[in-house]
């Protein structure tokens, strides 16, 4: 466009500069995403290709060997490894327990707080806190609070005449980790569901009230179906984040006490034993699992969205 103006004004054919092409009507939208695409290529495509490459090689850095091509041997090794299956099982147990706990708590509290009350701002502000604290600090705090000898929970238990509980023992550590993860993330469910409840159409609820429907009936037949898309979004996002649970373990059990989950296994294989081949294989499997689960959940989300409209 600018070139045409020049042409008209000076009667010369001026070549459009590179910058003009970039900001022209046709290419501007692509210009804007160049930085993003470059970033994606560096930070996403590169690691993926790297992992795919080394997952087919034997490459243990600690031994100082050069990579040797193995084909599918690493995958075969991992899939026959009981440690992997145990870690996978734990990951899914934490996943299911956390999401169930967070959704139940979140829904209950959102229903409770879905009204005007005195001090609602400060209440909600405090409710937001666990979400903003660093996960590592959170896990260290809870490690301390749940200590056997001098943790406050055990001292209080003893104070009311009960016996102390080994919170970080092999049988209980996984549940303790689950508990602190729920503690950190249940506000997320609360606030997403609260926002959803604010947006619900009022007339349907008034009609239900006029018809004399019970609170439980209203919740089951009106609130729950209408909030279904949001619930699915929470499940989807939390699944994505929970499959990679790492920080809560670092401050508490450090993979001990039968709490080694998938990401901890990847970390231990690649950064403690420096076995890049097997580590990459585990990483690729973890990535595939995440993609498959998220794709399934994404379809459910689309169905839920379609049903609500």
């Amino acid at each position: 466009m600018l070139a045409n103006v020049d042409e008209a004004a000076y009667g010369v054919q001026r070549k459009t500069t590179f910058w003009e092409t970039l900001t022209s009507e046709k290419y501007f939208k692509w210009t804007l995403i160049i930085p993003l695409v470059v970033t994606l290529a560096i930070f996403m495509i590169y690691p993926m290709i790297y992992c795919l490459y080394y997952s087919t090689h034997e490459y243990a850095i600690a031994l100082g060997k050069t990579p040797v091509f193995l084909g599918w041997d690493n995958y075969r090794f991992v899939l026959h490894d009981i440690t992997f299956w145990k870690a996978l099982g734990r990951t899914f147990r934490v996943l299911v327990m956390c999401i169930a706990g967070e959704l139940l708590l979140g829904m209950g509290i959102a229903l409770l707080w879905n009204r005007e009350f005195r001090g609602q701002n400060i209440t909600r502000g405090l409710g937001l806190l666990p979400l903003l604290i660093s996960p590592l600090a959170m896990s260290m705090i809870w490690n301390y609070v749940l200590q056997y000898d001098f943790g406050i929970v055990n001292q209080l238990l003893e104070g009311v005449g009960l016996s102390k509980i080994m919170w970080w023992s092999t049988e209980r550590a996984m549940y303790s980790v689950t508990f602190i993860t729920i503690w950190k993330w249940f506000p997320f469910s609360i606030f997403v569901l609260l926002a959803g409840m604010k947006g619900l159409p009022r007339d349907a609820f008034e009609a239900a009230k006029v018809d004399g429907a019970s609170a439980w009936f209203t919740f089951r037949k009106l609130t729950l179906p209408m909030l279904m898309p949001l619930i699915m979004i929470i499940v989807l996002l939390r699944t994505m984040w929970l499959i990679r649970i790492f920080d809560p373990l670092y401050g508490t059990t450090r993979g001990g006490s039968a709490t080694e989950v998938l990401d901890w296994l990847v970390y231990r294989t690649s950064f403690v034993f420096f076995d890049v081949g097997v580590g990459s294989t585990l990483a690729m499997i973890s990535l595939f699992l995440t993609i498959i689960i998220c794709a399934l959940l994404f379809r459910q989300l689309m169905i839920a969205l379609g049903a609500s409209k």
Partner: protein
């Protein structure tokens, strides 16, 4: 009346479960070792207050360096995120560039396990001498925050009316000028919410800083983890460190409370 009693009882319990662990940490940070390990409920709140833990933290650890490092890297990575995400989110929201596919790929970087990405980056950074440097971690924090920031900004850009741009086009503004003069002032509130999110996440990030920094560029999260030495944990200084490290996020929470709730729920509610 009975209803409101139950309501406040439930709310009180919820808030107690949230707040008590934190109060407990602050109490511990003022306790001398003998009171930390002492038993008996009465002693939980009655103790001889001391500042020893704080002086240990300030004198014997790199606390100030860690705080400074974290602040520098959080701010720098957030700036970088904004430079990349703002134009991209605008492009996605305005022209649906890439037909939604590209936006989905961007969001799915959050699906990508961070541990997976850290293996190649570790060896790559090592060969480039970026391990334990500010630049290295800034790049990783940028990668860590970019996708969600783009997603949030996408939602905010969607709210801006298209007619404004068309009017500006008629007035003869170029695309670049429209972005700078019309769109940017309107996106400022949304952009600041997104920036605060990025700051908080960068401040809290642990996995990357733990794997990629040792001494020079170590962050406060790494500092906290160092109180867990070989066998025992130094509870007193750790409590002091945790207590101070979470203060910036608490301040952010206090000022941004309303906006954070909005920002958090925004993407979810708008679908």
């Amino acid at each position: 009346m009975r209803r409101s009693v139950w309501f406040w009882l439930a709310t009180g319990i919820i808030l107690a479960v949230i707040v008590l662990p934190m109060i407990w940490i602050y109490l511990t940070s003022f306790k001398p070792p003998e009171d930390i390990f002492t038993l008996g409920v009465r002693k939980l709140f009655i103790f001889r207050p001391t500042l020893d833990n704080y002086s240990y933290l300030f004198v014997w650890t790199d606390f100030f360096k860690e705080m400074r490092n974290t602040a520098i890297m959080a701010v720098a990575s957030t700036a970088l995120v904004m430079v990349v995400s703002l134009p991209a989110a605008y492009s996605f929201a305005r022209w649906n560039t890439g037909g939604g596919m590209l936006l989905f790929v961007t969001i799915s970087t959050r699906m990508f396990p961070a541990v997976v990405a850290s293996i190649p980056f570790f060896f790559w950074f090592r060969s480039m001498g970026l391990l334990d440097t500010h630049i290295g971690l800034i790049l990783l924090l940028f990668y860590f925050n970019m996708s969600f920031a783009t997603f949030l900004l996408f939602g905010f850009f969607k709210e801006i009316a298209r007619e404004l741009e068309d009017a500006a086009m008629v007035d003869g503004y170029g695309r670049l000028e429209i972005f700078r003069r019309i769109i940017f002032p309107l996106i400022k509130p949304g952009a600041s919410i997104t920036a605060v999110f990025c700051l908080i996440w960068a401040w809290n990030e642990f996995l990357f800083s733990f794997l990629f920094t040792r001494t020079d560029a170590k962050t406060i999260s790494v500092g906290i983890s160092l109180f867990w030495a070989a066998l025992n944990i130094q509870w007193g200084p750790m409590a002091a460190c945790v207590g101070l490290a979470i203060i910036p996020t608490l301040i952010a929470a206090w000022f941004m409370q309303r906006y954070i709730v909005r920002g958090l729920t925004f993407g979810a509610v708008k679908g």
